[in-house]
């Protein structure tokens, strides 16, 4: 994979950040800010998937297991133990990290790779969904409702723009981690593991350790996504936060935008949020946006395996060549 993110790095990062900061002031309608929140939310959880699935090549079909663990950890701590919901963010990161560590440890110790790893994550998500669905403590199938109590210190904003800047900050952190992975030793080791595990081992990389580490990191981020989700919608239930749909969305956003790239999930997320908003406004047909997305996934895997970001990169290179 050619990568020119270092040469165009900082100007690109800063101009994108400036655009993102200006967005809710330029498009200040509730509809557009909501669109921004959802796009950034998908970008954030997509990036968390991308860190394990893209950078390290550990494809997961059940990433929602971390998302749900984070959502339930923070919501239960808030409702049952009166913890401040802002502390839910670090708590959910810890919950996601623990679940990521356990699943990574068990699966990688058993030597599961590729499709087998993808399927076992799906099964773990099912187990947690069923458990949470069956236990009184977690509210069972009815889910948990967070009572509305507007106030910034209570993680509830009267204007959506407050949520926008929270999720923007989280996304910036996740992008920074992705940039770090591109340039750090840890990231290089993950890339080696992704390309050829045996060769990576021969080079002296502790494959098992690095893979568990990346699951912890990815799980922590995804867990925070769950906590944000709970605060934004003030409601969670097992089917929503442990369901297959969210896992698939994270994977789609990342694969379609470009797995293993810094800005791939962002592109995929804007597209996913955009397509679902446009189809909802124009037609009343259920399922249309995912029909488009499923088709796009097949086409991308077949013809553009590095994702849509490749189109941008090619465009950038062509412009550069013209300039010379």
């Amino acid at each position: 994979m050619t990568d020119n993110s270092r040469s165009i790095g900082w100007p690109l990062h800063l101009s994108l950040l400036a655009l993102a900061v200006l967005f809710p002031f330029v498009f200040s309608s509730s509809f557009m800010v909501n669109f921004g929140v959802l796009a950034l939310f998908y970008a954030f959880i997509g990036q968390s998937w991308n860190i394990a699935g893209g950078f390290a090549g550990q494809l997961s079909f059940g990433h929602v297991v971390f998302f749900g663990a984070g959502a339930y950890a923070s919501t239960i701590l808030q409702l049952r133990f009166g913890m401040n919901p802002w502390l839910g963010l670090p708590a959910s990161a810890i919950a996601g990290a623990i679940v990521g560590g356990i699943i990574g440890f068990l699966s990688f110790r058993a030597g599961l790779k590729g499709s087998y790893f993808a399927l076992i994550t799906l099964a773990f998500a099912e187990v947690l969904r069923i458990l949470v669905n069956s236990v009184e403590f977690t509210g069972g199938g009815l889910g948990l409702l967070i009572p509305a109590k507007i106030g910034a210190n209570n993680f509830q904003f009267s204007e959506r723009i407050g949520f926008y800047f929270v999720i923007l900050s989280l996304t910036v952190v996740s992008v920074a981690i992705a940039v770090w992975l591109k340039h750090s030793r840890f990231g290089a080791q993950l890339a080696a593991i992704r390309e050829n595990e045996d060769a990576a081992m021969a080079l002296g990389i502790n494959v098992f350790n690095e893979k568990v580490k990346v699951m912890v990191l990815s799980g922590a981020l995804c867990g925070m996504g769950g906590s944000f989700f709970a605060q934004y919608f003030l409601y969670i239930d097992p089917t929503i936060v442990f369901g297959v749909d969210k896992s698939v969305e994270m994977l789609l956003v990342s694969m379609i935008g470009g797995a293993g790239t810094v800005y791939g999930p962002l592109i995929g997320a804007v597209l996913l949020a955009g397509v679902s908003d446009v189809t909802r406004v124009l037609t009343n047909v259920q399922g249309l946006s995912l029909v488009l997305y499923g088709t796009l996934l097949v086409i991308i895997i077949a013809f553009l395996p590095n994702g849509l970001i490749d189109l941008f990169k090619r465009l950038g290179q062509r412009i550069k060549q013209r300039g010379q």
Binding site: L112, L122, Q286, G287, L297, A302
Partner: protein
């Protein structure tokens, strides 16, 4: 606990397990020959079930009679789907084909949602409510017919693979594709045929399931996990494994529901899946990986 209740749970579990076996035999055939994991298996089954539903509702064709239609239709659908799409895109890593079949399943499920809407549908036929005494309990007639038919179809599939020339060619390709090609077998054709047969078993399973189950665009989800569990438990690519695995999974589901309640009872299948993959990835009858 009362023995009658246990007996009834065992019988019900075995009966549904027979159909799981049929669904899983298609999955295990596709894996054994093509070495691809067909994640679209559940959504293809759902599609076939809608086919059976509309054949009855629109044309008045009995679901069991629909076997004569659905099996060949699904076979040709699978054959051409492989030839035109999956076979061409299946190059390279196994993750890619998993993602392509995932994309297909998203596509099929949401197309179903667009055209059929999200409602859950059931059918009723004249013999739906006929009860038969089996040992300690009463069982609905369609369940027994479906189980019997599933077992017969599995046996026929096994005979086909063992006895016919095409079956021999399928086994040859499964074992050693290069060698098969060297002795003049058209390997790509065998791939398409295997995928077709894999989907044909779903056509059959749909006809047997419809009188005793329901269908909605997300019905496939239920069977994806079940089918993968059966296949992993029995051993990827093993027919005998699919039969034993199907019955065990059916029993697990039935006893799980009995002892743990409706909600928690579903946990057994996913737990089996996880434990087998972690501790005995070759399954009960599979070759060592």
């Amino acid at each position: 606990m009362d023995l009658t209740i246990l007996g009834a749970a065992a019988i019900n579990g075995l009966l549904i397990g027979g159909i799981y076996t049929l669904v899983a035999s298609g999955l295990t055939l596709i894996y054994g020959v093509l070495h691809i994991i067909n994640f679209a298996h559940g959504s293809m089954l759902m599609l076939a079930m809608f086919g059976v539903y509309y054949l009855l509702v629109k044309l008045g064709i009995d679901p069991y009679l629909s076997l004569l239609i659905m099996v060949p239709v699904m076979y040709f659908f699978g054959f051409w789907l492989y030839k035109l799409l999956i076979g061409r895109l299946a190059q390279g890593k196994d993750e890619n084909i998993l993602l392509i079949t995932l994309g297909l399943s998203i596509l099929i499920e949401n197309l179903a949602l667009m055209f059929f809407k999200g409602d859950t549908r059931t059918i009723s036929v004249s013999y739906s409510d006929v009860m038969v005494e089996v040992g300690p309990t009463l069982v609905s007639l369609p369940k027994i017919i479906s189980f019997g038919a599933a077992m017969v179809l599995c046996a026929l599939l096994g005979l086909f693979i063992q006895r016919t020339d095409t079956g021999r060619a399928i086994r040859a390709v499964a074992k050693e594709r290069v060698g098969a090609r060297l002795v003049g077998i058209n390997v790509d054709r065998i791939f398409a045929i295997s995928y077709g047969i894999g989907l044909a078993t779903l056509g059959a399973a749909a006809c047997l399931l419809m009188p005793i189950f329901y269908v909605s665009p997300t019905t496939g989800h239920i069977f994806v996990m079940v089918a993968f569990t059966v296949v992993v438990l029995g051993g990827m690519g093993s027919f005998l494994g699919a039969v034993v695995g199907g019955l065990i999974v059916g029993l697990t589901e039935s006893f799980g529901g009995l002892f743990l309640g409706e909600s928690l009872g579903q946990i057994g299948i996913s737990l089996i899946f996880i434990l087998i993959l972690l501790f005995r990835p070759s399954g009960l009858f599979g070759a060592k990986r």
